[in-house]
């Protein structure tokens, strides 16, 4: 039939410019999406260890700050905050020595505030959930009568990761000692 032949001879891409163009653009889009997806998947990502390190440092600094802040006007509140900032041996110490310590502070009527000058982790074990921290601090003690005294303080602590964040399991002043006998304790 002439109608059939005529129809077949004009069938083909030139007769359907819209279909051709859209199919070509689609093919380009597929290649582009595939490349972009591969580029995204192979890009380096911040590691979980880096996140743990940043969390431990931030929460450790806050805990050390808490432990160096106490006002005789709000001793109970202050010690409660110490409990929340600690775990393990340190937490037990706080919990058991609480009432005697609170009385001492109230009698002395002193206010202690602290400022962190700088802090850094010295060790980090992400799998075990432990870290060590050193903090350079400035402590200001204001007694009931008398002028405020400010001094620098070097402190080191051990952090343990708990379900509610990184907490201090020990905290102490770094002692000054003979330089010749000092080894790097990290």
């Amino acid at each position: 039939m002439t109608s059939v032949t005529a129809r077949l001879s004009v069938a083909g891409w030139r007769s359907r410019p819209l279909l051709t163009t859209s199919a070509a653009l689609f093919a380009v889009a597929v290649i582009f999406a595939a490349w972009a997806g591969a580029s995204w998947l192979t890009a380096p990502r911040a590691s979980a260890a880096a996140q743990a390190r940043d969390d431990a440092l931030r929460e450790g600094e806050q805990a050390v700050l808490n432990f160096n802040t106490l006002s005789y006007r709000t001793v109970g509140q202050g010690v409660r905050l110490w409990e929340q900032s600690s775990t393990g041996a340190l937490h037990s110490e706080i919990a058991s020595g609480q009432s005697a310590f609170e009385q001492q502070i109230e009698q002395a009527k002193s206010v202690t505030t602290a400022k962190i000058l700088d802090a850094a982790l010295t060790t980090l074990n992400v799998r075990a959930g432990t870290a060590s921290i050193i903090v350079a601090m400035q402590i200001t003690v204001t007694p009931a009568n008398g002028a405020a005294a400010t001094k620098q303080s070097r402190q080191k602590g051990v952090l343990t990761r708990t379900p509610s964040g990184w907490k201090l399991s020990s905290l102490e002043q770094v002692p000054v000692g003979a330089a010749s006998s000092a080894g790097k304790t990290g």
Binding site: A6, V10, L19, S22, L25, D118, P175, S180, K184
Partner: protein, 210 residues
């Protein structure tokens, strides 16, 4: 846009004259030749277009995310995450601090010379200014100063620069006497990596003027 011999521009006069023939031809054509445009193939350009837009948007989003991740990774903080790099910078800076802050009245020049290799940038100038005083005073008092780092924490570590917090003990003694004083120091050090060695660029003693 009918094409080919099947169209009939002026059908009425002819159909009125020969109605039966027209109807027969029209009836036959669907059976002889299939419709040129089934519904699903008419939709193809629209489907391709929609899919192109969706893939283009997803691809664009992924490309931007990938670029951002790479840009952040270049300046990422490797402190404690890259254990060996952390050990290297800790070792280099500890050794440098112990060296530049330890001297003996008998040979202050030795410390000064060693310090030139361990410091860089503004730190060299500042150190030399301070050390000029040391070179004057130390022989008079027969001063021997020993500094040892006790605690080091790396806060920031990238390929080229690092910041460390340092606690150190300092022992000052006078030769020929048993007098000695001990002090504890705390300061932050900024170091830069030059040709694989970490050099001290600045020291911050937290007094507001380093």
């Amino acid at each position: 846009m009918p094409i080919g011999p099947s169209y009939r521009p002026i059908a009425e006069p002819e159909s009125a004259a020969v109605p039966t023939i027209t109807e027969e031809v029209v009836t036959e054509s669907p059976a002889a030749v299939p419709s040129p445009r089934p519904r699903w193939r008419r939709m193809l350009p629209v489907v391709f277009g929609a899919a192109t837009v969706v893939l283009g948007a997803l691809g664009g989003w992924a490309a931007v995310q990938g670029h951002d991740l790479r840009a952040n990774a270049a300046s990422a903080n490797d402190a404690l995450v890259n254990a060996s790099a952390t050990r290297t910078v800790t070792r280099d800076v500890t050794s440098a601090v112990n060296t530049i802050f330890s001297y003996s009245y008998a040979d202050t020049a030795r410390t000064r010379t060693a310090a030139q290799r361990l410091l860089t940038g503004p730190a060299i100038r500042q150190y030399n200014q301070l050390f000029a005083l040391v070179q004057q005073q130390a022989p008079k008092e027969k001063l021997v100063v020993t500094t040892r780092v006790t605690n080091v924490g790396v806060e920031l570590l990238t390929g080229g620069s690092a910041r460390l917090l340092i606690f150190a003990n300092q022992e000052d003694s006078r030769a020929g006497t048993s007098q000695a004083t001990y002090g504890g120091a705390m300061f932050a050090v900024t170091a830069v990596n030059e040709h694989g060695r970490w050099l001290i660029e600045s020291i911050d003693t937290f007094t507001g003027s380093s």
